[in-house]
Assembly symmetry: C2
Homo-oligomer: 196 residues x 2
C-alpha cells in the first residue's frame, strides 16, 4: 500500500487530526517566529548568541528502518523545566520566556509554570539578566518585563492577588520593545538601556 | 487486541528493534547521567544553574486522543545547532559539550559537528566560559578541556592535522575532573581554578 508521501504504509494508517495539528503548529507562532528571526539576526551580525531551546519530548519508541533515518514512533510532550530562551550578550548570561496573548488588557498567569518562575528566581540570584517578552497580539504591542517585577506580581497571587497581569502593570514596570525591519523584537536595545 | 503495556493496539503493531533501541538508550548514558546528577546537585545547593538542552526533534505528526495526552506519532532527530549544556555560574555564562569514548588513547573528531564548534567560537568571542568534558570510559578518566584548545586542534585537521585528538593533548591542555560522591563530574572546581 502506498501513501501520498511516497512511503509504504504498514497496517492501518493512523488518523491525522488536521484541525488540532494546526492548533499545535500555530500556537504562539508569530511571537516565536519573530524572536527566532531576531536571534538569527543577532547571531549573523555578531551582536549576541541566543537560541531557543528545543521542545522537551519524552521519547518512548524509536524505529530504525534499514537505509533510512531513525523514526520516533511514540513520544510525549514534557513540561519545560526552564525558560525557552537563553544565551550570552556582552559576557552576560541572559534568559527569558516569551508569552503571547489575544487578551487586550491582561496576561493570564495560568500558562506560566511554577518551576519556570523558580528557574527565573535562580537566574536572578546568580547574577543573570532575566525577563519576559510579552505580546498583546491584537494590539501588536510587545513588552520587555524584567523578571523581578514579574515574580513580585506572581507571588502576590498566592496572597489573594490577581491571577492575571494587567497591561497597566506591564506598561508601568516594563519597556515597549521597538519593532525594526531586521530585529523584529529588538530586546537587546532594552538590555543595553537597563544594564550597559 | 491488548498489548503488554496495557494499551489497545491499532492495526499491525510496529516492530520494536530491541537491539538498536538499547544502543540509542545507552549512547553516552554514563557521562550524561553523571553530568545531569552533578547539575542537579549544583542546582539544589545553589552553586550554579546549568541544564541539559532537550534533544532536538522535528515533529511531523501529533495525535490528540480524547481524554488523554497528545501523542507524537512521527518525529525525527535533528542535528543540534549548539552544545548540549549551558547555564550560569557566579554571573558568568557557561557552555559545554560532553563526549565519551571507549577508545583508550584518543577522541575521534567525527562525532563533533562543525556548527557546534562554530557555536563555541561565538561563545568565546562574546566572553562566555566554554569547554568540553571528555571521558575515556575504559580508564574512567574525565577531563575538562577549554574550548580554545579544542578549536585550535580542530582547525588543524583541515591543514593535514589529525582527525582524532590524542589523550596526551587533552592531558597537556586540559584538567582532570575530580569525581566526588555528590558532584560526580565536579567541573565547577576547574572553573573556579581557571576563572575566579
Amino acid at each position: 500500500m502506498n501513501y501520498p508521501n511516497g512511503r509504504k504504509g504498514k497496517g492501518q494508517p493512523s488518523i491525522r487530526t488536521g484541525q488540532k495539528k494546526n492548533d499545535f503548529a500555530n500556537r504562539g507562532m508569530t511571537l516565536e517566529n519573530d524572536i527566532n528571526e531576531t536571534n538569527h539576526f543577532y547571531l549573523e551580525t555578531n551582536h549576541a548568541v541566543v537560541h531557543k531551546k528545543p521542545t522537551p519530548v519524552q521519547i518512548v519508541q524509536v524505529d530504525y528502518p534499514k537505509r533510512s533515518a531513525a523514526v520516533i514512533k511514540e513520544a510525549y510532550f514534557k513540561q519545560a523545566s526552564t525558560t525557552d530562551y537563553n544565551g550570552l550578550y556582552k559576557g552576560k548570561y541572559i534568559d527569558f520566556e516569551a508569552k503571547e496573548t489575544r487578551n487586550v488588557s491582561s496576561l493570564p498567569l495560568a500558562n506560566i509554570h511554577e518551576h519556570q518562575v523558580e528557574h527565573m528566581r535562580k537566574v536572578l540570584q546568580h547574577g543573570g539578566i532575566c525577563f519576559f517578552i510579552i505580546r498583546f497580539s491584537k494590539q501588536e504591542d510587545t513588552y520587555y518585563l524584567p523578571a523581578e517585577f514579574f515574580i513580585q506580581f506572581w507571588d502576590q497571587q498566592f496572597q489573594g492577588g490577581r491571577k492575571s497581569m494587567p497591561i497597566t502593570f506591564i506598561k508601568d514596570h516594563g519597556h515597549s520593545i521597538p519593532f525594526t525591519f531586521q530585529a523584529r523584537v529588538d530586546y537587546i536595545k532594552i538590555i543595553d538601556k537597563l544594564y550597559f
